[in-house]
C-alpha cells in the first residue's frame, strides 16, 4: 500500500514578486494576443508558490506559444516541434526535485506531439502541462489546428473546415491526467490559481488556457472566450471523473465552456513507481545519475 500522497512541497522556495520571474527579454507576441495572459498567470502562480527559479524548468516545443520560456526566469529548453512533453518527462525523471512546467500550443501538443499526450497522462508524470489553446496555427500564419472549430475559415480551409475540433480537456480526462483544469487566459487571476494548483499537485496536471489569436482566428476572440467560459458550479465534485466529463459536455451543448478545476485525483507518479522498483530490486552498485547525465553533455 502506498503512503498517502503529499502535494509538491519539495520545491526550493524563495520569496519573489511576479515581476521577478519575468527575465530581461521583452515578451513579444502580436498586440492583443492571449498568450500575454498565460504569461501573466504563470508569473503570478510562480510567485504565489515561491518556486526558486534556479530549480524551475520550463520546456516548450515550437509555435507562438512555445516562445514563452524565453521570457521566464528559469532554466528552459526550447525543443523540437511536439516534443516538449518527452523532453520534460526526461527532466522530471532525472531530477524529481525540480519543478517542471511545459508551455505549448494546441497544434504542438495535440497534432505534432499528439502521440505523446496520452502517455504523459497515463504515466502520471509529476509535471504541469499548460496548453495555450488558441485553436489555430499562428506562427505559420493561420492554418486549421486540431482544436479549430469546423466553421473556421483559414488559409487551409478558405470555404470553412470539414472536421470537428477536438476537446483537449475531455481527452486528458479520458487518458488519466490526475489534475485537469480549464480557463480563459485573459482571466489571469483564475489562470494563476489553476496553475498554482497544478504545480502543487503531485502528478500530471493539465491546464487548458483558452487564448485568443487576434491575427488568425476570427471565431475565437477574447470576447467569445470570456463570455463562453463559465465556472463549474460550486458543488462540482472534482474527485469524480464522470462528473467532470459531464460538466464539459453539458457546457458544450449549451454553447459554453466549462472552466475552473474540473478534476483532481491522486495515484503514484512515474518517478515514484520507478524509485519504488529500484528499491524493490535492491538498486545497482554502478548506478550513477551524474555519469548518465554527463554522457549526453555536449
Amino acid at each position: 500500500m502506498n503512503a498517502p500522497m503529499q502535494p509538491n512541497m519539495h520545491f526550493h522556495k524563495v520569496e519573489l514578486k511576479p515581476k521577478d520571474y519575468k527575465n530581461e527579454t521583452t515578451a513579444f507576441w502580436c498586440a492583443g494576443c492571449g498568450h500575454y495572459g498565460v504569461l501573466t498567470g504563470l508569473l503570478r502562480a510562480l510567485s504565489e508558490i515561491g518556486v526558486d527559479p534556479n530549480y524551475l524548468v520550463n520546456v516548450s516545443g515550437i509555435g507562438c506559444s512555445s516562445r514563452l520560456p524565453y521570457f521566464v526566469q528559469s532554466y528552459k529548453m526550447h525543443t523540437l516541434h511536439g516534443r516538449a512533453g518527452p523532453v520534460a518527462t526526461g527532466v522530471q525523471l532525472a531530477r524529481p526535485d525540480l519543478a517542471v512546467v511545459v508551455t505549448g500550443g494546441d497544434g504542438d501538443g495535440f497534432s505534432i506531439g499528439g502521440g505523446h499526450m496520452p502517455h504523459m497522462a497515463r504515466k502520471n508524470i509529476n509535471m504541469t502541462y499548460i496548453l495555450m489553446d488558441n485553436r489555430v496555427y499562428g506562427l505559420t500564419k493561420g492554418q486549421v489546428s486540431p482544436t479549430s472549430q469546423q466553421a473556421m475559415k483559414a488559409s487551409t480551409t478558405p470555404y470553412g473546415g470539414v472536421e470537428d475540433g477536438m476537446d483537449p480537456v475531455l481527452y486528458m480526462l479520458t487518458y488519466g491526467a490526475t489534475y485537469v483544469a480549464q480557463a480563459f487566459a485573459g482571466n489571469a487571476k483564475l489562470a494563476a490559481q489553476l496553475i498554482k494548483g497544478g504545480m502543487e499537485h503531485k502528478g500530471f496536471a493539465f491546464i487548458n488556457l483558452l487564448s485568443q489569436c487576434p491575427s488568425f482566428n476570427e471565431l475565437d476572440t477574447a470576447v467569445t472566450f470570456r463570455n463562453a467560459c463559465e465556472l463549474v458550479p460550486e458543488g462540482h465534485d472534482t474527485s469524480d471523473v464522470s462528473a467532470a466529463m459531464l460538466a464539459v459536455h453539458k457546457a458544450k451543448q449549451e454553447g459554453r465552456i466549462a472552466s475552473g478545476l474540473l478534476y483532481k485525483t491522486e495515484r503514484p507518479t512515474l518517478d515514484q513507481n520507478m524509485a519504488q522498483l529500484v528499491q524493490n530490486v535492491g538498486g545497482h552498485k554502478d548506478y550513477d545519475l551524474r555519469k548518465i547525465i554527463d554522457l549526453s553533455r555536449p
Binding site: N54, L56, Y70, S74, M77, H78, L98, R297, P298
Partner: protein, 165 residues
C-alpha cells in the same frame, strides 16, 4: 552548460540561432560567425574517428587496382580480395570509418598507391563515388547495384578481372 538546479546558471537551451547569452539572434554577422564555428568544429571530427582501414593483404608497393568499400559491402570485398590475390592479382582495399566530413587525405594517400580504383556500392546513384569525386582528386570507377540483394564476392572478382584484362 549548468544542470537545472544550479544557482546562478540559468540559461535557455534552444535550437534557434542565438548569441552568447542564449537569446535568439538572426543578424547576418551572428549567423555567419556561428556557421563558421560549427563547420570549424566539424572539421575536427576527422581526428576523433579511427582512420580508414587499408587492406593491403601483403601487397607491397603499387597495386594494379584498389577497391573502396563501405558498410556491409566491406565483408564481400575482403573475400573478393582474398580470391583475387590467390590468383596473383595485386589488389588492395580501403574501408573508411567516416563519410562526413570525408577524410580526404586518407583517400588521397590510398589512391596514390593504386593504378586504378573501383568503388562497388549498393545504391542506384553511386553516392560514395560521387562524394569522393567531389571532395578529392580521385576518379574511382563506380559499380552499383540496387536490387535489394548485396554483392557476392564473385561479382566483384568478375568485375575486377574485366577491368584488369
Amino acid at each position: 552548460m549548468a544542470d537545472p538546479g544550479t544557482p546562478g546558471g540559468i540559461h535557455i537551451a534552444t535550437g534557434l540561432e542565438h548569441n552568447e547569452v542564449g537569446l535568439p539572434s538572426y543578424t547576418s554577422a551572428n549567423h555567419e560567425a556561428m556557421q563558421d564555428k560549427r563547420f570549424r568544429k566539424l572539421k575536427g571530427v576527422v581526428h576523433d574517428v579511427a582512420p580508414a582501414e587499408v587492406d593491403t593483404g601483403g601487397v607491397a608497393g603499387m597495386a594494379d587496382l584498389g577497391l573502396i568499400a563501405w558498410g556491409s559491402t566491406i565483408g564481400v570485398v575482403r573475400e573478393a580480395l582474398q580470391r583475387l590475390r590467390a590468383q596473383g592479382y595485386k589488389v588492395k582495399g580501403f574501408y573508411p570509418k567516416l563519410l562526413h566530413p570525408l577524410p580526404a587525405q586518407q583517400f588521397e594517400d590510398f589512391g596514390a598507391s593504386c593504378k586504378r580504383l573501383l568503388l562497388p556500392e549498393v545504391n542506384f546513384q553511386g553516392q560514395l563515388a560521387h562524394f569522393v569525386r567531389a571532395e578529392t582528386s580521385l576518379r574511382p570507377e563506380s559499380y552499383t547495384i540496387c536490387g535489394g540483394m548485396p554483392f557476392t564476392p564473385e561479382m566483384i572478382v568478375t568485375r575486377v578481372k574485366e577491368i584488369l584484362a
